[in-house]
């Protein structure tokens, strides 16, 4: 890609392989190329086990030691996979920050909320204690706490799930990073809280121009928030497009099936005891993937060629690469 300068981050043919014991190596991410532009919200849609969390963790090199990365993750022209530990430390939390799925697990339970946020500031910025405290109060207000002083000295267990996720977001945005990675930030929360968290992230993007890579299995989360969506299935991206294109007019059979399920959820005349639309079967075992298209065994539109080889990206529309033989051969 030539216009690399206008990309904030680029995955270049990234592959992540887990070598566990004597078992077959598992290629959780297999040749993913995707770019995130400054201030852009990119969604990664996929079911559990498709490699989307591995992809997110690979950016900040948070993978288990047994994971091997190939390809590149370019951030502002530097390959994150080749940086030294010290160089990486300067980027983590400062330029790229992560919001984990379950704040109950990612927040240290014996440290107060205020110190949890202050800790990030101390690691990266030269502020004295007073300035830090002031800054933490500002951040607490920014993530929607009406009375920051009360939250400042609270321990994570004294807070609700939604409040904890706000603390995690305050930590992540403390140093005004250029890129936020949010891995299923709402999947452990109530429906009403989910909307609030997405709203908060959306506001952060508008106010500070933070680019966001957001990962979810729920297409509804991206609606009205993401600019572009990449759909992942069994370690590979099968389709990329704008939010409207992917959710409104999906081209890949997997995305189409997923959207049928998502839009059936709350059909106006929801009747009890009526079967829901589904996708038959399960996603493939990453240890033994089908030789051709990975969605082929579950696809309702499969053709002979689908089981023979993996479909390259076709472009039925100029800006929409789709890996499916429906659109060419």
């Amino acid at each position: 890609m030539d216009g690399r300068t206008d990309h904030l981050m680029t995955f270049r043919d990234l592959a992540v392989t887990y070598n566990v014991d004597e078992r077959v190596p598992i290629r959780a991410v297999d040749g993913v190329s995707l770019e995130v532009r400054p201030q852009e919200v990119v969604g990664i849609l996929g079911e559990s086990g498709c490699g989307k969390s591995t992809l997110a963790s690979a950016v900040l090199r948070l993978l288990a030691p047994k994971a091997k990365c190939e390809g590149g993750v370019l951030f502002r022209g530097r390959d994150l996979l080749n940086l030294s530990k010290a160089e990486l430390r300067a980027i983590r939390g400062r330029e790229i920050a992560l919001i984990a799925q379950d704040p109950a697990q990612s927040l240290n339970p014996v440290i107060t909320a205020g110190s949890l946020i202050g800790e990030v500031l101390r690691a990266h910025l030269a502020l004295d204690a007073g300035q830090r405290r002031e800054r933490v109060m500002e951040l607490l207000g920014e993530v929607g706490f009406g009375r920051p002083e009360e939250i400042y000295s609270a321990y994570p267990h004294q807070l609700s799930g939604g409040q904890r996720q706000r603390i995690a977001i305050a930590q992540a945005v403390a140093c005004r990073p250029a890129l936020l990675i949010a891995d299923e930030p709402t999947s452990k929360l109530d429906v009403s809280l989910q909307a609030e968290i997405v709203e908060l992230l959306s506001r952060i993007r508008q106010q500070h121009g933070t680019a966001i890579l957001i990962i979810s299995h729920d297409p509804a989360l991206f609606a009205g928030f993401a600019d572009r969506i990449a759909v992942m299935y069994a370690g590979r991206i099968v389709e990329v497009g704008s939010c409207f294109e992917i959710l409104g007019r999906p081209l890949h059979p997997y995305t189409q099936a997923l959207m049928r399920i998502a839009t059936a959820g709350m059909s106006a005349g929801a009747r009890a005891s009526e079967r829901l639309p589904t996708i038959a079967g399960e996603s493939p075992d990453p240890g033994c993937l089908p030789g051709g298209c990975r969605f082929e065994p579950r696809c309702s539109e499969r053709m002979e060629v689908c089981s023979l080889r993996y479909p390259q990206a076709f472009s039925p529309e100029p800006t929409r690469p789709v890996n499916c033989f429906k659109y060419g051969e």
Partner: protein, 303 residues
């Protein structure tokens, strides 16, 4: 009966016990005590006088925000917790105050499935052992003659194995996976296994505490359909706990809404959705609708 919730449809007779009534809960209250040891002990009312009824073979969904007390109701009905006050009538027999010994004959009839099934299974077990365990436990628990006869039916190992195999097929798992560790199963498969384990005891009531939460959209739909199939096949009664109104609306015959430990509204699903009477119901409904609306703005725009 104190404080009947509003909006009760005529066929959900709470006042008189209808003969189709399977589970009837009235005045259920449960307090927990926070603090203790060195800190001051403060009682927290988790559930305050909840009333509801489920007909045999039907589904009641309890919805509410986290902390509204819905899980406490579930745990009391399954008698994992002992309620402080109120009645839990199963077939007209009150199990609310029974001792653990008196509860033994009721245990197999009420089974519970949790949000994260793996935390309720021994991680060193294979799928077969998970299913088998509940059959073995039931044998230990039952001393009466009827169960002794039953013991001869599925007492020996071969019989247990055959039943486990049949249960796995029924919930959509390959019996070839019988000897795999449960850690090799995906989230959806584990939830299927949890259902197989629950069904092993031929229960009449399943208490499903957020059993669909945390699953993928497509897996969630598969498990929801499985629940519908199992309900028809075994005439099961479900008490379904969820915070996702959009989802349970597709599964439940009736919905009870909880807020601040109280059951603020009970009614038929259609009625709750089209004509909510309590502000808590309206709030939950609004957030479900908002999320659907956001999606339909996007999907409707270009289709």
């Amino acid at each position: 009966m104190p404080n009947l919730p509003t909006n009760l449809p005529s066929n959900l007779t709470v006042g008189g016990l209808s003969d189709r009534s399977f589970l009837r809960v009235s005045g259920l209250s449960k307090r927990y005590v926070r603090g203790g040891l060195w800190r001051k002990r403060v009682p927290v009312a988790a559930v305050i006088s909840a009333d509801f009824e489920i007909l045999r073979g039907q589904t009641l969904a309890l919805v509410g925000e986290s902390g509204s007390g819905k899980s406490t109701v579930a745990r009391c009905v399954a008698r994992v917790e002992r309620p402080d006050a109120g009645q839990i009538l199963i077939h007209g027999r009150d199990i609310a105050r029974l001792s653990s010994h008196e509860l033994l004959p009721f245990r197999s009839g009420i089974q519970m499935v949790f949000q994260d099934p793996v935390t309720s299974m021994n991680p060193r077990f294979s799928a077969l052992e998970v299913i088998e365990e509940s059959m073995l436990m039931d044998r230990h628990a039952s001393a009466n003659a009827e169960k002794l006869r039953d013991r001869q039916n599925h007492g020996d190992q071969e019989n247990r194995r055959n039943r486990a195999r049949a249960l796995m097929v029924e919930v959509g798992l390959s019996p070839d996976w019988m000897h795999r560790s449960i850690l090799d199963f995906s989230g959806g498969q584990r939830q299927r296994l949890a259902l197989a384990r629950a069904l092993a005891l031929q229960p009449q009531l399943l208490v499903l505490d957020e059993a669909l939460t945390g699953l993928d959209v497509s897996t969630q739909a598969q498990i929801a359909n499985l629940l519908l199939d199992l309900q028809t096949a075994h005439r099961l009664t479900y008490l379904l706990i969820s915070h996702d109104l959009a989802l349970v609306a597709r599964l439940a015959d009736a919905i009870g809404v909880m807020a601040g430990g109280r059951m603020v509204e009970v009614g038929l699903t259609q009625q709750i959705i089209s004509n909510p009477c309590h502000s808590a119901t309206e709030k939950i409904l609004a957030s479900a609708k908002a999320s659907a609306a956001k999606l339909s703005v996007v999907t409707g725009a270009s289709s």
